[in-house]
Every structure is written in C-alpha cells, then in structure tokens.
C-alpha cells in the first residue's frame, strides 16, 4: 500500500479531504440500500473501477486485502439463505430465495465499500490521510493515535511473534496452556508502554509540543470541487433511480 501511495496520478494529487469525503459519501450511499436490492447497486462498481484505472495502482494487493477480510463479511450473511427461504425471483424455472439475494447484496456491499476504503488509503498514504482527517475536524489525539498505530503495528507484532517463538521453543511439542498467552499479552502490553514512553522522549527531543507540523500543505482546488460534486451527484442519482434498470429499458426499446 505504501508503494502504491508513492505513485503519481491525478487521483494521488487530489487533496486528501476530497478523497475522504468522496469515499464516505460512497460508503454511506452503498450501505443505505435495502437488503434485497442488487441491480441498483451495480452502477456503484464504477467508482472503484474508475479510480483504479485512473490512478493505475496495482489491483492485486487490493484484491488480496479484500479476500483477507472477506470471511468476516460472508459469515454475517452466510445464514441468510437458510432462514429466509421465501422465493423472490424466478429465473426460468429456478426460484431464487430472499436469503440468497440478501447474501449477494451483503457480499456486494462489502466488496464495494472495502475496495473504496483501500483505494483511498492506497492513493493517499496513511500520513496524508491522517493530515486530511485532522483538517476535516477529527480530534488531533485520535489522528495521532491512528498514525502511530500504523507505524508501530509491525514493530509490536514482530515483538509478539518473537516472544511466542521463544515460549514455543521451551514448551516442546505440547500445546501451550491458555494462561501462557495471557501472560504474553500482558508482557507485550507492558513493553508497548515502555516503547510509548521512549517514542515520546524522542518526539520531545525534536521539539514536539502537542502539534505535528507537516511538510505538505493541502489545497482544495477546482479539481477537488469537481471530483466531490461529480461523484456525489452520481451517487444521489444512482440512489434515487435504478440506473441499471433505466439503461436496460432504454437499450430494450432501441433493440425493439
């Protein structure tokens, strides 16, 4: 994701606030559809696809991350086909139950919203994203925490895996008692406190006074205005009218 964020494109150059607002509007609109709506959701595929195409960021890492998160979302809808068996749609002689339709919309909405959020991070970078959030009025303490979580997640997970390895080497082939994991988590927490203290020392030593100044200045230009207004208009239109159905009808009439 960091590599993708360092690329350059018209999407990368947009103000982070623009992309945050665009992504939020997209997520809210997509999530506002009821659980039996499938066709009206299809035009929303345009947003992630166009952003991917214009920014030219690699698709594979995004897809891989979506797949990692997918089991959680699919689990939420996995029981729908069993509980909701009322037939809602007939394709030829085959009846599709409401459960399968709602399962499909859950999967589709998950795919769309997670893709949009990942594209936001991949075309903005965590640092600029946090700067944008702060400019949008998100409390500074929260934004700073987010930035540090992102920076130290790797360090702490590395520490954790080294601790687990050292315990396993001494424990032999038998499974570890759950209590051992409790101790490990506690130790990791204490170590994180110590590290937080040392990071704070390093920040104070370089003049930290509660606010983090940034090299990059943000400017909301006409391109940003066009991006936000254009997409929000499209989202509202796609929410109000079923664009896929309209297009189908128009094409049907032309064909007739």
């Amino acid at each position: 994701m960091d590599d993708a964020a360092r690329m350059d494109s018209s999407i990368h150059r947009l103000d982070p606030r623009t992309k945050i607002i665009g992504t939020l509007a997209f997520i809210v609109t997509v999530m506002s559809f009821d659980r039996y709506t499938v066709s009206a959701l299809t035009p929303f595929v345009l947003y992630p696809l166009l952003l991917l195409a214009i920014s030219r960021i690699p698709v594979e890492p995004i897809l891989r991350k979506i797949l990692i998160a997918a089991p959680f979302a699919l689990l939420v809808g996995a029981f729908n086909p069993f509980f909701d068996r009322s037939p809602m749609l007939h394709i030829g002689s085959f009846a599709v139950s409401g459960g399968w339709i709602s399962f499909t919309t859950i999967a589709l909405r998950f795919f769309l919203t997670v893709a949009a959020a990942l594209i936001l991070i991949a075309t903005t970078g965590m640092h600029r994203l946090c700067a944008g959030l702060e400019r949008l009025g998100v409390p500074r303490a929260f934004v700073t925490q987010l930035l540090f979580l992102y920076r130290y997640l790797f360090v702490i997970s590395g520490e954790g895996s080294r601790m687990v390895r050292s315990v396993q080497l001494r424990a032999g082939p038998s499974a570890l008692p759950v209590r051992t994991y409790g101790t490990l988590v506690g130790t990791l927490l204490l170590r994180s406190f110590d590290r937080a203290e040392r990071v704070h020392q390093a920040m104070i030593a370089r003049g930290y006074d509660g606010s983090m100044r940034r090299l990059e200045s943000q400017r909301f230009g006409w391109r940003d205005g066009m991006f936000v207004c254009g997409w929000i208009l499209l989202f509202v239109a796609a929410r109000r009218w079923n664009l896929a159905e309209l297009l189908g009808n128009v094409l049907g009439r032309i064909a007739a």
């Binding site: 640092h127 030593a205 090299l215």
Partner: protein
C-alpha cells in the same frame, strides 16, 4: 573566557521511586570535542543523556549549553542545540517515511518549507540515505535505520550530538560506516556506549560513570588502558588498545 559547549555542575538526580541515579556529576565539554561516556549497566549514563536536552528536569546542580542555563523556559532552545539519538532507532523513527521523519524536527522548529526540504536533503546525503528517502522505517536494514535516526537529528543542525549506544545491533560493516560517519561529523559529540572499541576510534576523551558518580575523566587511551580502573567499574580494557584492529588496515 571561551564558552563550553556543555557545562554540567554538581548534577544530582533521583527517580520518583527513590533511586539515586546521579550524584554530583560535573564536567565540561568544549566545542568540537568528541567525548565517550562509559560505565556499567545502571551507572547513570542514560539518565545523564536525558538531562542534556532537558527531558529530565534538573533537580540539583546546573547545566549550561553554549552558555545558556538549562531551565524549563530555555528547554525548547536547548533542544535545537542538543540533538539526542536514542538507542533503538524504532523509537526515534516514528513517522511513516524516512523523509517525513527527517523533516519532523525542522518543521517543529517552525522553519520554512524550502529550508526544511534543503535540510532534509543535506542530512540524508550526509548519512548516505538519499535514495531511501521515501522508504518506511520498517523496510530499512539495521544500519540504515541507525543512519536515518542520525539524519533526523542532523536535519535540526544541532551544535551537540548526544548518542545512546549507537552501535547496537549493527553488523561489522554498518558499524564501520557508523564510525567513519562519527569521525567526519563536525559537531560536538557525546557518545554513551558499552562498545569501548568504538570509543577508542571516535573519542579523544572519556568520562567514566559508576553508581551515578563521575569517577574518571581524561584522555581515552590513558583511561581505557587502566585495567584496574576498568575492572573496578564493571568495564574491561578494549582489545584494540592491545592489538591493531583488522578493519583499520582497509
């Protein structure tokens, strides 16, 4: 009279749990000098270092940096003059990329964007990391992380560099590069370390701390060659003073 870069007088410090970490420590460091600070674990080295740029408050005694007394009011200015480089680069490199990390200090100083960019470029060039500027810290080698940590402080143009165990976790080649860098830096340097051979190669003078007291202060070769003194304070005479180090032949 010439103003010392650092002038510490009768500095004492106790932690809130009552541990007396420093007892009446006094020394002066002249501009451009490179001084090694050695002592066993718990001798008070890190506590002394954290005093030198005002992180820990002066409880008793005084510290002057370039003639300016260190107080709560002057701490901000002192921090621009005394750059502290911590033992673990992961503590020092807290921003998402090397470049942003190097820019952090100058930006906090309120410098203009052009000046910050110039300083960041100069500092990264100095430590040989110009081609790593956009990298996140977790994708640097141990040697590169150390160099990046030094660059983040060099970008603030400090007059004094204070380092805590700069050679920890470095392979021989990275350690050699560090020694060459330390020798080439024009700033006044105070280097706290257990790596006595590094002290021999980079410092002309040594301070020996033991139990929070300054027990010896003098030329590197004379003090580190004093086997009795070294053993008494939990140290040992470095091999480099007995044999020529093989890397020096390069």
């Amino acid at each position: 009279m010439k103003t010392s870069a650092i002038d510490v007088r009768e500095l004492s410090f106790a932690y809130p749990d009552g541990t007396q970490a420093l007892r009446g420590v006094s020394f002066r460091v002249e501009p451009g000098e490179s001084v090694g600070l050695v002592g066993a674990n718990g001798a008070g080295k890190s506590t002394l270092l954290l005093h030198l740029n005002g992180y820990l408050p002066v409880q008793r005694g005084s510290i002057d940096v370039a003639g300016i007394p260190l107080t709560a009011a002057s701490a901000k200015e002192i921090r621009q003059r005394v750059g502290l480089i911590f033992q673990d680069p992961d503590d020092q490199l807290f921003m998402p990329t090397v470049e942003e990390d190097a820019a952090f200090g100058p930006l906090q100083m309120g410098l203009s964007k052009e000046e910050v960019e110039r300083r960041v470029a100069d500092a990264l060039e100095r430590v040989g990391l110009s081609d790593r500027r956009a990298r996140p810290p977790y994708r640097l080698s141990a040697g590169e992380k150390r160099a990046a940590a030094i660059a983040t402080v060099l970008a603030m143009s400090p007059e004094v560099l204070v380092m805590d165990e700069p050679s920890t976790h470095l392979d021989p080649r990275s350690r050699r590069r560090l020694i060459e860098l330390l020798r080439a830096l024009p700033q006044t340097r105070i280097i706290a370390t257990h790596d006595l051979e590094l002290v021999v190669e980079t410092c002309s003078r040594v301070l020996v701390l033991s139990g929070g007291e300054l027990v010896a202060d003098g030329p590197t070769d004379a003090l580190l060659n004093d086997e009795v003194l070294m053993l008494r304070h939990g140290l040992e005479r470095p091999h480099i003073l007995q044999h020529r180090h093989p890397h020096e032949a390069e």
